[in-house]
Amino acid sequence: MLKVDGLTVRADSVELVHDVSFAIGPGERVGLIGESGSGKSLTALSLMGLLPEGVAASGMARLGDRDLVGVPESRIKELRGRKMSMVFQEPMTALNPLMRVGAQVAEVMTLHGKPRHEARARAVELLERVRLPEPAQIARAYPHQLSGGQRQRVMLAIALANEPGLLICDEPTTALDVTVQKQMLELIAEVAPALLFITHDLAVVASVCERVLVMYGGRVVESGPIREVFTRPRHRYTEGLLAASKLTPRGTRLPAISGSVPPAGRFPGGCVFRNRCPQATPACETAPELTGDAHAFACWHPAD
């Protein structure tokens, strides 16, 4: 249903995302993981045509038979909120502070052709569907009267309103309290159609998704079914991520990936991870291809 091939995102001369390819089938749930600065959000924003000013995408991305990259905004905006939707990381600022919640939910439906009164009624139903208590009352509230978790539910209601085929969630629970996170994840898992779920929390991916893409330095370095990738990681970066997320006995040092993510444009040539990789050799100065069918990885010295 969604097919991405050779997606590259640039800001002026700096390449932020390089040659990313993946596909999501109908109803499939795919996680996109990696540290901050790996290019996850830019990948998602380029699919929605919402890249910030001065940042441009090239390559191919197609939703059904519609091109998403390299088309004018007038063509892609009719898909947004209808065929594909997105929930963002920060619920506190994502809603218009001057507009009632119900009107903001209804807007996404009237925009795509539903009559106003129908949209109003359906907005209340949607608020109920994302398990907001007293939906009729919430519809009349302003965003500042709701908590972060409630606002994120409103965002989810907006995203689901037109029953899109693809839902993109960009760290939807990162800004929420831990107790609220779990409810939110369960809700997303329950209501989502096909899902592209961005996070840096591996446990979250494991609970929601079937397949995972690991991004680092603007590239997909490993991809495959969750179970395989998480139990038998091949790329050294994935291995490092998993090691860092495991529970460790009290008093022992948490294993971490040495160094930190370089700023955009400062990744090394060849394998982008080689300056932080304990296994790096001169061979890594040549960029490895992403190889493999179901479980693919781009590494000269894969773990076994």
């Binding site: 905006k77 009719e78 963002f88 600022t93 994502a94």
Partner: protein, 312 residues
Amino acid sequence: MTLYLVKRLAVLLASTAVAAVVVFAFMALLPGDPAEIALGVNATPEAVAELRRQFGTDRAPVAQFLDWAGGLLQGDFGTSYVTSAPIGPQIGDRLGVTAVLVLGGMILAVVIAVPLGTFAAVHHRNALGAVISAASQLGIAIPAFLAGILLVFVFAVQAQALPSGGYVPISENPAEWLRSLLLPWLSLGLVQGAVLTRYVRSAVLDVMREDYLRTARAKGRGSTGALWRHGLRNASIPVVTVLGLQLATLLIGAVVVERVFVVPGLGDLLLNGVAQRDLLLVQGVVMVLVAAVLLINFVVDVAYHLLDPRLR
């Protein structure tokens, strides 16, 4: 909202009362005795004392204040010591002229600034946006009276298209009335419009970076549609603050512009009052100007509450 309105109204009344005390006290502190001014240097002390008794200026200041303030409440500003004419009707006549001048200038400023500022924000990355920015910077540097003189030079002296000054009441000749006000409006409006353009531009730029605009686009709006539907009202909140301040500035600016264009407004009346040492008249005009500024602030605060549900 009603409770807020009542509270804010109480604050307005209280601050107006305080303003009345301050205005009265300042005028009382000024040197110069109305009776001595009226009778001239050769008057006998007995005659001066007699006139003081007539004016009531021989009484204690508190009694004089209560008398004056009590009169204000009934719209009575007292009788001029100099011309013996009642002051209230004069202020009433002039207030209308000044209000038309100031409001016209303000409307012109808004009409210039909102589209231009929004345009400059949307096009902030290209040359046209930069040109608007630079032009508004230039406008800020020019004071209203200078703009007035330049406008007179171009439109009245060179082009001979508009009168260089004077005022025709609307009841006499509406077309001439409009012609006589055009240049004063322009000189007030262009300068304030330039200032306002910059504020509108920065408010719209701020709003354009907001997450909720991205949300609106994610719903299926284009960037222009998102800005119209969700951006402009949010941007108007900081702009309203500036508008209120500008309206007060315009009121003061009108004093000068009325001089340049010989428009018989409050400013003209005030300056005449000062020249003739007509203290009670000056006191009345200053009180009206202060009250107008307080009223503007009140309206701005109420407008905030209407615009922003977070304040309710």
